[in-house]
Amino acid sequence: MNVIELNAIVKTYDMGGAEQVMALQGVSLNIKKNEYVAIMGPSGSGKSTLMNIIGCLDTPTSGQYLFNGLNVSDMNDNDLAKIRNREIGFVFQTFNLLARSDSLHNVELPLIYAGVPSSERKRRAQETLANVQLGDRSHHKPNELSGGQRQRVAIARALVTKPSIILADEPTGNLDSKTGEEIMMLFEDLHKAGNTIILVTHEAEIAEHAYRTIRLRDGKVESDEIVTKRRVYQRAHAS
C-alpha cells in the first residue's frame, strides 16, 4: 500500500512581478509502507521544496498528493496541521527543539497538540525517550545535552505520535561522523521496527543507508533506483 502518492507535482514561487521560479516541474513518485527512501540532489534541485510538500508544510501549485489515500493537495491549514501532527514525524538538521523546555516536554509537545490527556502524555513521552536510550535525560534541557542526544530527543519527538512516515532532513548534518553513525543506526532500528523513513540528504554516504534513492535535478526526478550496496554500520557490541 502506498503511503505517499505524488502525481505531476508542480511548485512555482512568485518572485515579485511576472517573474516565477519553478521549483518542482512535475514530480511523480510513490512510497510504500515500511520503505526506507533517500531523496538526494544538489542545492537548488528542489529537494527542500519536495520535502516541504511531502511533510505537508506546503501545498503544491498543481498536481495531486495522496497521503494514505487522502488528497492533501487542497487541504486547509488546520487539516494540514492535523496531518503533520499525527502522521508525520519531522527530524531536522538543526534538531529544532524548544530551548526552554526539557526533553520530556519537547517529546510531549505533539501529544499536547493531539489533545492526549496529561498523564498518558507523560507516560508515552517517557517511554519513547527510553526507546532512544534517553530515559534518564528526561529533565535535561537541550543545552544540557550533546548534539547526538539532542537529535535523539528530536527523533523521540517524531516517533511519539506513531506517525505514518518519519521525514528526516539532513539528520546528521550538524553531527560529527561518529555521532552521525549512531543516529543512522537508530534509523536502521526504526526501519526494522516497521517505520517508513524518508531521508533527505545531499551526502551520498548517508543516502546509502536507504534501500532506495531518488535523485532530483532541476525540479525533476533524475533517477529512482534501488540501492545495491547498502551501507550498514555494525554496532560495536554486535560485531
Partner: protein, 408 residues
Amino acid sequence: MYFLTELKEGLAISFRAIRANKMRSVLTTLGIVIGIVSVTLMATAIEGVNRAFERSAAAFGTDVLYVQKFPWVSNEDWATIRNRRNLEVPYVAKVERQASLIDAVAPVVTTRRRLTYGINSMEGAMVSGTTAAYLSTAGVTLNDGRFFTAEESSGGRPVCAIGAVVAENLFPNEDPIGKTIRVAGFPYTVVGTFEKQGGLFGAFTSDNRVFVPLFSFQTHYGGRRRDVTIQVRVADLKQMEDAKMELEGIMRAIRHIPPGKPNDFSINQQEILTQTFAPISLVIATIGLFITGLSLFVGGIGIMNIMFVSVTERTREIGIRKAIGAKRRTILIQFLSEAAALCLIGGILGLAIAFPLSLIVDQVLPTAMPLSVVFISIIISLVVGVISGFLPAYRAARMDPVEALRYE
C-alpha cells in the same frame, strides 16, 4: 474541543516566557500598572465626590421645601433677586395655619459668631435661631441629648444644640451635654449634639453650627428684619408637587403679589441640587476616566509593541510548533494568553498599589475603593491584554511554517 488543554499549555508557555524575560516583562507591565493605578484612583475619587454629595444632599431632606429669598440654582438676573424683600418670621405662623399638605414649618435665621468654652474657642461658627419644629424639617440626626423644646424655644431659654465640628473644637476631651458655652459672649447650655454630616456644602451642614431658640437669637444678635429661611416638611412625599404649589400660593398671598407678576421668593428643594449635580458629576467622571484611560491605552500599546518583538524573536519556535502540529488557533491562544497574562499581572500589581493610595484619598473624601472597581479593573486589564495582543498573535498564527523554520 481541546480548547482548555490549549489554554493551559498557552498559559504555561506564557509564564515561562515572562520568567525568561523578567526585566522586559516588568518594564512592559509598568505601563499597565500605572494605567490601572490612575484609573482606579480616579474611580475612587469620583466615588468619593459622589458620596460626599449624597451625604450633603441628604442633609437637606428629600421631603423638605426651603422658602428663601435666594434660589439655589438660578439663571435670573442677580440684581433683581438681591432686591427682593427679606422673608419674615411671622410668615411661618401663616403658612402653618393655611397649608394642608405639610406637617412641620420652622423659621431659620443665621449669622456668624465667635464661640468659646473655657480656653477653647471657634471663630466664625454659624449660629442659627430656630424653633423646636426645626428637628422635623431638616435631615439632621441627634448624636446625644435632645433638641430644645417648644417651651424653651418660645420662652427664649439659653439652651443650644451643637454640630459635630463645634463639639470637637470646644470639647476635645469632654462630654458637651450640660456644659455652658458662650456665643458672642452670651451663655448657652448645651442640651444636644448632632451626628457628623460631612459633605461638600459647608454653608448648609449642621457640623459647624449652633442652634439656639429663635427668640434668644433675636434678643442677643438683633435683627428682627434679618432674612429668614422657612423650612417646610411635606406630609406625604408623593404630594411634593401639590404641596409646593400650595406653598407658592400661600406665599404669593402673604407677599401680596398680583397675578401675572413673578414670585419674589424661591422655593428650593434637594432635588434641584441632585438634578444640577448629576450631569456635572457625569461630565467629571467621563473626562476623568477618559484622561486616565489614556494612560492605560499607552500601556496597551507598550504590550502590543513587546508582543510584536516577542513574536519576531520566536519565529523559529512558532515554525517548530507548527511543524509538529500546532494549529493557527493554538498559536493564537498561546500569544494572546501571554499578552493577557502580562496585563493581568500589571492589573493586580496596579490594584495592590492603588489600594493603599485610596486610603489616603479617603482622608480627604469619604470613599473606599469600590469592589466593582476591583473587578472591573481586572477585567479591563484582561481585555487590554487580549486587544493589544491580538495583532501580534494573529501575525504569529498566520506565519508560514516553511518560512518560520528557515528564520535565523
